[in-house]
């Protein structure tokens, strides 16, 4: 008796459950994928405006980086979706009910439209934006589960017609034993890449696309739609009725695309070998520093002096590297060996302490990221700061790189590849490649970058990773007892 009641109750519950949300219609954004047809029509705070855009920009910059380094699609799926997106632009499947799906999707939506504003202004920026966004869409589309994907496709009119079985029979060779699957009929000009590779059947100007290639139509549509939208945005932009809040943010964003947006490096990192001392810097520069800092160090040793921006760039870098204020003062004092004590104390000591947040407004300055080094404070004659990949002439850059890194395995055979990246203005990619080559002995492979496939966005990142690898190698040696032979 009781069992039956329980059974009935269970059945009743099941029924109500069946009524509940198969379609998750309580979500404002029912699908993970978005075609970005409609702009967000709500009030957004300035912080949201900026954060959504910045985070998305990190992802897009990383995608561009992957292209510059010739990664395969599969590799990009890992790097972008698993590493980068999970940090900055998480976008979970609808089945993952515990996550704040609407918030994630809203951020994705807002970020895309803000970046449209930032990148519509020049043809070059538009082209790069479209390429990166289409790739992001492709990556997400391919990893989406097929039921959700089908629902998403159903939500939008793609204007394709399902070919009738008679049509298909006429076209598909009858020799194949398996039943031909579904074919979608579209004008061939909508799928030129499929036509070029003969992945469709053609009849009277219509391409018959097998279901397996359906994705290609979707991607073409996405790209074409975005290109048109950007052109329209560019035309409408001058009429943007706003105060001075948004334009600076937009300007900053389009600059950020060039350098790759960096993660925060504002706290001093404790080096793996304990406290960093002034007398360790020479060796450390030789072993672990990126070209910009190596150059500054060499100029400092050569001239026994550095000008203001050089001191700033190098000093903050050393701070984050782990140099304490006492060691820093000692370092600079010894480096400026030709000047007298009282002059040093009068002219330099205060500024060094200031940069450590011990004077004045006590601001703890972060070390400059690659973007900042590239973009702000252009070096003039007599300056040694900046980014060598950008600010050196091609000849000087090559000889400098070979001088600095020749003993680490960088040879003139590597130069053409590096110089190509420099010519294409992918400075951080060139720097990353140099990192890979000079750390090949520690097992770094091409494409690995500074760990997990990421490219250099901050000089301290370069140095920290280099030190980490050296430490690992040391530990490897100790554990074995013998010297570990690296391939």
């Amino acid at each position: 008796m009781q069992n039956r009641k329980e059974q009935q109750r269970n059945l009743a519950l099941k029924d109500t459950n069946a009524g509940i949300v198969e379609t998750h219609s309580h979500l404002r954004y029912p699908y993970r994928l978005n075609f970005y047809d409609k702009p967000p029509l709500e009030d957004i705070t300035i912080e949201e405006f900026e954060t959504a855009a910045l985070d998305r920009l990190r992802v897009l910059a990383e995608i561009e980086s992957c292209f510059a380094r010739n990664r395969t699609f599969k590799e990009m799926q890992t790097v972008i979706l698993e590493n980068v997106c999970s940090k900055y632009l998480e976008l979970n499947r609808t089945s993952n009910e515990l996550k704040p799906l609407d918030d994630e999707r809203r951020k994705d939506h807002i970020g895309h439209f803000v970046l449209r504003l930032a990148f519509c202004r020049s043809e070059d920026l538009r082209r790069r934006f479209v390429k990166a966004e289409t790739t992001l869409f492709k990556l997400r589309y391919e990893t989406e589960d097929s039921l959700e994907r089908a629902k998403f496709l159903g939500s939008r009119n793609f204007d394709w017609i399902l070919a009738s079985p008679e049509e298909v029979q006429e076209l598909v060779p009858s020799t194949s034993s398996e039943k031909p699957g579904n074919y979608y009929k579209v004008k061939w000009t909508r799928v030129p890449d499929l036509v070029e590779k003969r992945r469709v059947l053609m009849k009277r100007g219509m391409a018959y696309v097998p279901a397996a290639e359906q994705a290609s139509i979707v991607f073409q549509e996405f790209q074409a739609h975005l290109e048109k939208a950007l052109e329209a945005t560019a035309k409408a932009l001058p009429r943007l009725d706003e105060d001075t809040r948004l334009v600076p943010i937009l300007d900053n964003l389009s600059k950020g695309f060039q350098a790759g947006v960096s993660s925060e490096w504002s706290g001093a990192t404790e080096g793996p070998d304990g406290a960093l001392r002034a007398d360790m810097i020479d060796e450390m520069a030789y072993k672990h520093f990126p070209a910009c800092m190596r150059n500054l160090h060499m100029c400092l040793r050569r001239d026994k002096h550095l000008k203001h921006f050089g001191r700033l760039q190098y000093g903050l870098f050393l701070k984050i590297l782990g140099l304490s204020i006492e060691e820093a003062l000692a370092f600079w004092r010894k480096s400026f060996s030709s000047i007298q004590d009282d002059k040093f104390n009068k002219e330099y000591r205060y500024n060094i302490r200031h940069s450590y947040g011990l004077e004045g407004k006590r601001a703890n300055y972060a070390a400059k990221s690659c973007q900042q080094i590239l973009m702000s404070d252009e070096p003039g004659p007599g300056d040694s700061h900046g980014c060598p990949y950008r600010h050196f002439s091609a000849d000087n850059l090559q000889s400098a790189l070979l001088t600095m890194y020749g003993e680490h395995g960088l040879s003139s055979a590597d130069m053409p590849e590096i110089m190509n990246m420099v010519k294409a203005k992918h400075y951080h990619v060139a720097c990353t490649r140099v990192f890979e080559i000079t750390h090949a002995r520690q097992g770094v492979k091409k494409g690995e970058g500074v760990g997990g496939g990421e490219s250099v966005t901050h000089p301290n990142q370069y140095a920290a990773r280099s030190r980490e690898l050296a430490k690992k190698m040391e530990e490897g040696k100790e554990a074995d007892g013998d010297v570990v032979m690296q391939g």
Partner: protein, 414 residues
């Protein structure tokens, strides 16, 4: 026997030809698609090659008379037709570079006999004869069918290039509007023969062991008889050592290759037909998995020797300049006449009218009767050029009909 070159054309001859015989009005309506001048003509680039190889670009005209006047003034050895630009080409210097770009252009193809030099045995270089013309006629039939069936194009004009090749101009509206990317894709679809001199196997169109894609399979059906008649019989491509060595490179079975090599070295006079039979016998003998690969290789060989060899660069870019129909080829004196693809097998390059022949015909005609004003532009009607101009006019009628119909539709659909 190679087609003999006519006497070299002199500037006087060219001028007389342009004044009295060149069908400017027909060419105008062919490009313009209707009687009243539109941007299709007024914004169209013409490039002139003058005596002494002077090259003049970015010329444009308001109507057929202006074009004729300039051609007669300049007396070029040839002139070429380019795309329709966003502004009149003659105004190019006054327009911002960003505002001057190609908008529309016929879809064009160029098949040149020299691309077949590695496989034709009767002629080489600039020579051409009725025998090796068969390569071209096979190519024309395959492409004509493919473009009509698969792409749905209707307005195709095939034009003899004057010496050793053939051009195709497609004037369908959709074809005119194709972007460079789309043209590239279309060429990719049609291209089967790829690879330079150093590449032995030039046909790579399957995915693994799958059968030929349907579009190529239908071309194969058309080309198999051509292979037997032209390659094996007429050209005897595998008679020479070089010829049959090339064939052996395409057979993916070392044992078969070795046994054939031995057999053919011993019997150098063996005909291509017999040699091909040998190949087929060897493949028959091999049963099991190997035979599928070998049959596929056999099909690929047929394609490699007969499938159309296109000059992809000509078709891919909208701004490519291509010689105008009815020009005179300076080295042969022959007129670049339209060719009917349905009767292309009967086409003989040696019987194409030359300019001297045409002018002779005009001279022989009775002098105009008293009172009859000489209608100079219609003189072609009284020469051997007549059927060719009529071919163009018929083609143009089709285009104008199409334009009229689509205008009617637009008028009604408000």
């Amino acid at each position: 026997m190679a087609v003999p070159d006519a006497e070299p054309t002199t500037p006087d001859i060219m001028l007389a030809f342009y004044r009295r015989l060149y069908p400017f009005k027909s060419i105008f309506t062919w490009l313009n698609h209707e009687h009243a001048p539109t941007k299709l003509f007024t914004h169209r680039e013409f490039a002139f090659t003058l005596q002494g190889d002077v090259y003049l670009r970015y010329n444009s005209f308001s109507n057929a008379d202006e074009l004729k006047k300039q051609v007669c003034t300049l007396n070029p050895t040839r002139f070429e037709i380019g795309p329709v630009y966003s502004a009149r080409p003659r105004d190019k210097k006054t327009v911002r570079p960003a505002a001057f770009s190609p908008q529309l252009r016929e879809l064009v193809f160029d098949i040149d006999m020299t691309d077949y030099d590695s496989i034709r045995t009767c002629c080489s270089g600039a020579d051409i004869c009725k025998r090796c013309w068969t390569f071209i006629s096979a190519a024309v039939r395959v492409l004509d069918r493919a473009l009509r069936d698969q792409f749905g194009y209707k307005h195709l004009l095939w034009v003899y290039s004057g010496r050793r090749g053939i051009h195709l101009w497609i004037s369908d509206r959709e074809a005119l509007e194709l972007t460079d990317e789309q043209r590239r894709a279309l060429v990719g679809w049609l291209t089967v023969i790829q690879g330079g001199k150093e590449m032995h196997k030039k046909v790579n169109v399957r995915m693994g062991l799958k059968p030929l894609p349907p579009s190529i399979a239908s071309a194969y059906k058309m080309l198999l008889p051509v292979f037997h008649d032209l390659i094996l019989e007429d050209q005897d491509c595998f008679a020479s050592e070089e010829g049959w060595q090339a064939l052996l490179h395409l057979i993916p079975d070392k044992d078969i290759v070795r046994s054939l090599e031995d057999k053919w070295e011993d019997d150098p006079k063996r005909s291509s037909e017999d040699k091909w039979q040998d190949v087929e016998d060897e493949i028959e003998r091999k049963k099991g998995k190997g035979s599928a690969i070998l049959n596929a290789a056999k099909e690929d060989i047929v394609l490699q020797y007969t499938y159309p060899r296109l000059d992809a660069e000509v078709s891919k870019h909208r701004n490519h300049l291509l010689k105008a129909p009815f020009c005179i080829h300076p080295k042969t004196g022959r007129v670049c006449v339209p060719v009917d693809p349905r009767t292309i097998d009967k086409f003989d390059p040696a019987r194409v009218p030359t300019v001297s022949q045409l002018l002779n015909e005009l001279d022989k005609l009775a002098l105009p009767q008293a009172g009859e004003s000489a209608e100079h532009h219609a003189d072609w009607e009284r020469t051997s050029l007549k059927p060719y101009v009529e071919m163009l006019d018929k083609h143009v009628m089709g285009l104008m009909e199409e334009t009229r119909k689509s205008k009617q539709k637009m008028d009604l659909s408000w």
